[in-house]
Amino acid sequence: MAWQPSHSSGRHAVTKDHRQSTRLSRRAFLATLPLTAAVAACRQRPYRRDDFTLPDRSPMAILPAPGYDVDLADVIYRGLELLRPPVAGRRVFLKPNIVEYESGTAINTDPLMVAGAAAAFLKAGALEVVVGEGPGHRRDVEYLLAGTGLDEVLTDHRLRFIDLNHDDVVRVPLRSRFTGLDELWLPVELVRSDFIVSMPKLKTHHWVAMTASLKNFFGVVPGAVYGWPKNILHVRGIEQSILDIVATVKPAFTIVDAIVAMEGDGPIMGKPRPMGFVAMGTDLVAVDATCARIIGLDPLKMPYLKVASEYLGNLAERRIEQRGENPSRYATQFDVLEPFKNRRLA
């Protein structure tokens, strides 16, 4: 991956040469701060509390899946039966995490998960299932589709693929504004979908400690509009962007591929870590918080998850209702990069 600049921490003199005197608005300035500092500096949250309702309880399910050779359509359908999301007659949009292809790694959502989810949603009464992704730094989506095997799955299951980097876009006002932005231009096919499903791979992440259901939505921001690797989001803050995108896109469901997860220097250069489960739920914050606890990270120590729990979903264990396997069955400690070791569960 080639994020720029190459510094690892600290503040650096950023000049635009001919426009060095550019003044930042207060909102734009807040967006340049780390999320915790930006939140502390805010007198009030950058969203309308009335626009969001936290559920009293967030049901989710963890289902065993020891390998990708099991009947994943059956696994996911059983999860849908446990959770009963309202998919009948809906156009379901599956958003897998397709980042980079490298043989023998655990970077991407396995295509067989996508195939299983499509079959399960159709069995549950979905009107249509489409698959969409806008890879963050590789422009060449055909290469990724072919390399990962997703192209074969799409062809075999006659699933339509939406290239989110190059779809037409529509202006969407942001429902929260941690980035300081008022709006994003988002792919029309995504915005018109009425049941959006995050399908991430569970991975450690070298910038935000962990990536799963929420971070996966970076991929919906169109590269042809905002550049690669979705430059504007990095400038405005990764954690801020995660919050604003998820608040706006309003995903209805998540299915986390934790059959083989990734630990260490994720989301690309980490090591595969077999975990043998699929996590599902309607509350993405609850599912991500549970995944964090399973891999030994404290969700309260992840700023974007902590802030998300104030308006997007439940983080507290007492508010999360486990309807499948007990998460403790899978509890372990993932290897994380040094800066994130203090985010481990006590």
Binding site: W3, F161, D167, R171, W185, A224, P229
Partner: protein
């Protein structure tokens, strides 16, 4: 690979053997492009989608290069598409297809295409576009472990960092614009952009999307970025960075199987005078997938690459 080895490759004979009829394949690609054009001008990335700068530029380039019509007839049919580009031009000279901000990589491509097509519409567009490209640069980040962070090429969008692809496209456009007119500002931008590319070459040769290393870790080069970088530096063939880049590209020319990667590789090898038969053969093998995905931008790139022998990749040549 040494200079001598590169030179010997340039002289080597093309592969022989059974190949699909190139003209039939090209005709299919042309039909797909013509059918995918929007009646109001331009092409979207996919049929039925809004016209965008990048697919329109590649489609114009590919159709112009493979047209058997007399020049004036072709120009007449292309006019509606050039008008789409003209309508996209803002008062500051940059082209913007969809809000909120111009994509500078695609603006570099538009300049290259207009330089190739010429004519009054293209020339009028260029007159304001090239100065805009000279004026715009990526932000400079100082005091980092990597001095190249301070160098300013072109970003994808304004007020962000410089990346290899937009830098290569805009650099090529400015180098070609200097044939008509040059000046100290253009020369300075060309020089600094070359430094960006030369400084960001990966340890193994070739280019990643941005820096050559992050957090002290060497990054891997990719085929499309390397092909574009080498095209922009085709006038510096003796530079060790170019030689190493070509070595990487030759060794990996078939490793990224996609229309984009193979097309850019074929174009790059042809520009550098190296054999590209194997790559073009792979392109024809993979055409079914290209047609199935139906991305008009990629279809146009493939058509332009497969007809390279006819046009000599003139639009990108230095």
């Amino acid at each position: 690979m040494s200079l001598v080895q590169v030179a010997s490759l340039r002289e080597s004979r093309p592969l022989t053997g059974d190949r699909p009829d190139r003209s039939t394949l090209a005709a299919q690609l042309r039909r797909a492009l013509v059918a995918g054009a929007n009646t109001g001008g331009g092409w979207g990335y996919y049929p039925g989608k809004t016209s965008r700068i990048e697919p329109t530029c590649w489609a114009l380039l590919a159709l112009a290069a493979t047209s058997d019509e007399p020049g004036d007839v072709w120009r007449s049919s292309a006019d509606v598409h050039l008008q789409f580009l003209a309508r996209s031009q803002r008062s500051d000279g940059l082209l913007l297809d969809l809000p909120p901000v111009p994509n500078l990589g695609f603006n570099g491509l538009a300049a290259l295409v207009c330089q190739q097509l010429r004519g009054s519409a293209a020339d009028a567009l260029l007159a304001r576009l090239v100065p805009a490209l000279v004026r715009i640069k990526g932000i400079s980040v100082k005091n980092t472990p990597n001095p190249s962070d301070a160098l300013q090429g072109w970003p994808w969008i304004e007020e962000t960092f410089s990346w290899v692809e937009p830098t290569a496209l805009c650099l090529l456009a400015l180098k070609r614009s200097r044939r008509a007119a040059s000046g100290p500002e253009t020369d300075a931008r060309v020089q600094e952009a070359e430094h960006v590319l030369l400084a960001r070459s990966c340890a193994t040769g070739g280019w990643n999307y941005g820096n050559a290393s992050v957090y002290g870790q060497d990054l891997r080069p990719y085929v499309p970025t390397t092909a574009l970088g080498l095209m922009a530096l085709a006038d510096r063939r003796a530079d060790p960075v170019v030689i190493r880049g070509l070595e990487f590209l030759r060794n990996n020319q078939l490793n990224e199987r996609s229309g984009m990667a193979l097309a850019l590789t074929a174009l790059c090898l042809r520009i550098h005078g190296l054999p590209c038969d194997e790559v073009e053969h792979a392109l024809t093998d993979d055409l079914a997938r290209v047609h199935r995905l139906n991305n008009l931008h990629i279809i146009a790139m493939v058509l332009y690459a497969l007809s390279g022998e006819r046009h000599g990749v003139a639009a990108f040549a230095l």
